[in-house]
Amino acid sequence: MRDYIIRRVLGMIPLILIVMIVSFGIFSLVPNPFAALIENPRIKKSDIQRLIKAWGFDLPWYLRFFKWFSGVVHGDWGPSLLYPGSTARDVISRALPVTVRVMGIEFLFALSIALPIGIISAVKQYSVTDYIVTVISFLGMSMPTFWFGLLMMMLFSVVLKRPSGMPLLPPGGIITPGLEEAPFWAKLGDRAQYLVMPVFVLAFSSVGGWARYMRSSMLEVIRQDYIRTARAKGAPEHTVINKHALRNAMIPIVTLVALSMPGIVGGAAITEHIFNIPGMGSLIIAAEIKSDYPTAMIGLLLTSILVIVFNLVADIVYAWIDPRIKYS
């Protein structure tokens, strides 16, 4: 087991390197942004030269990569163009906790819905419940998250109003201005309101796939001989399902959940953008729209590393809960 973990951690290194090369490679296709400044007579030529040198645009692309690489490794991530005056590091350290919080809540919420409905629809295969779950799962998988987000916003922030005339749920943001110093419970309630729509929108898209997968994994296990044995020896149905079937059916779910991480982070990006949540996704999109490449590159790299680490954890958990897996 220890050797397995060590080997997997070492295996992350080439992955992270490839991710770095890909994210740098894409942004290195951008033409020199300072070349256009030369046209502007109000900027001194020497200033432009200084900028080009500071950004490394006087170097060929491969040297620029090493310059960026050593900067990243040493924790110097360059200035943020999006928020002049701050470094990319400050900007990201503000956005990362927001994303982790939203995603964490979404994740637990989606799992706690997807797993039970997947199990129920497998146990009652071809029942009315099964059909309803199947159709709802497909609706969730086919719904473009940004459109669903807009529809929710229309319903809960435009059509439905509180008696005071305020929208039922706030259309975007994460906290009501002025409530930053409120007592703990008031603050928590306020933040929860802002999370309802984004979390529901994100969860709706991941629940479908997970529930379908849980269903097929459970169906496969239920047909096994050892389940028939458990029934034959007279174990009550709920013991057969919960103790014998469920534990085995859960094993592949770990991998699926890990594999859907990049999708969630990606889907979260556009949902964050719509609901104006200042997290990593909306930061990267805003950075890309405003051509803030240092922030976009480092943001992309960090979210990818997050995904890679998560996959590693999932693999280790997988090896740990399934004794049949060989580590070699």
């Binding site: 994210s23 951008v30 497909f138 990049p262 889907g267 996704g281 890309e288 992309l300």
Partner: protein
């Protein structure tokens, strides 16, 4: 269920299971899959809407009605879905936007399958270091959050239909590559491949003439489901303004325009979004049925 139907026919009735060709059997199972048939009818309806619609409703999607009176018209006889913020006929824009969205969906899903199949064939067939390098690269690509990277590449490549297709293909081949590699690993151990070796077939010939056709059934399923995904990607890219550019319509950029009028013209959001949703749903239903018909145990 399908097997039972075939067996029932075997006992004393006209057709036996040997009378079914492979394609015939898949088709037979498919027609008995309720959701797949619902999906098929949805797709036929959407294709008719998009391609036959403009023959019946001959409005110019880019013609603007001058003056304030032409903007934001509610649905009426003159404009069945109303007009948008430039006074353009929404129904006509839905037809032409749908053509572009479907075109991008089809071409990019098929191209990513081809790229994925090539990577998977080479990795699975040669094994060793080629497999190692290709699969590490595939893993790395799979761990980058797709959407921000799509936007990045779209912003660099420029805005146009072919650029969007290229972007979607660039980030869409990985799952197919893994799938094909897995299949090839088991297929290449079979005797017919050994026989092909024995008569001196080249590696290229074995890969494309012997192995590839055997992965085709699975690839058709993954392409069908992939079209839905590609349509959503196109819509998302266009929604953020990096996709198909005005004045040309796509369902995604119609939504982008409509976003700012969410307060007073919600129908501008509902129509294109509903079209995307129903199309993707149709492809998912149909793809799921196709998978069940081809191989119910397939994990996609």
């Amino acid at each position: 269920m399908a097997e039972k139907a075939i067996e029932a026919k075997k006992k004393g009735q006209k057709k036996s299971s040997e009378d079914y060709t492979y394609v015939g059997m898949v088709f037979h199972r498919l027609t008995r899959h309720k959701l797949a048939m619902v999906g098929a009818f949805m797709l036929i309806f959407i294709l008719l809407f998009v391609f036959a619609g403009p023959l019946i409703w001959r409005a110019d999607p880019n013609a603007q009605i001058e003056g304030l009176g032409g903007m934001f018209n509610l649905p009426s006889r003159a404009h069945p879905m109303g007009t948008d913020d430039y006074g353009r006929d929404v129904l006509a824009r839905m037809f032409f936007g749908g053509r572009i969205s479907l075109f991008i969906g089809f071409i990019s899903a098929i191209s990513s399958t081809i790229v994925g199949a090539m990577v998977g064939l080479v990795a699975g067939y040669y094994g060793g270091w080629a497999d190692n390098i290709l699969m590490r690269f595939t893993d790395a690509m799979l761990s980058i959050p797709t959407f921000p990277l799509l936007i990045a590449l779209a912003s660099v490549l420029g805005k146009g239909v072919w650029q969007i297709i290229l972007v979607i293909v660039f980030f869409g081949w990985m799952v197919d590559a893994r799938l094909v590699r897995g299949l090839v690993l088991s297929l290449k151990e079979q005797e017919y491949v050994e026989a092909a070796h024995a008569i001196g077939a080249s590696a290229n010939r074995i890969m494309w003439r012997h192995l590839f056709p055997n992965t085709l059934a699975v690839l058709i399923v993954s392409t069908t489901i992939g079209i839905g995904g590609a349509i959503i990607y196109e819509a998302s890219i266009s929604f953020l303004g990096f996709g198909v550019q005005a004045p040309f319509a796509s369902w995604g950029n119609m939504l982008q325009n409509a976003q700012q009028f969410i307060w007073n013209s919600p129908r501008l959001i509902i129509f294109p979004g509903l079209a995307i949703f129903l199309t993707v749903l149709g492809f998912n239903f149909f793809g799921d049925g196709l998978r069940d018909a081809i191989d119910p145990k397939l994990k996609l």
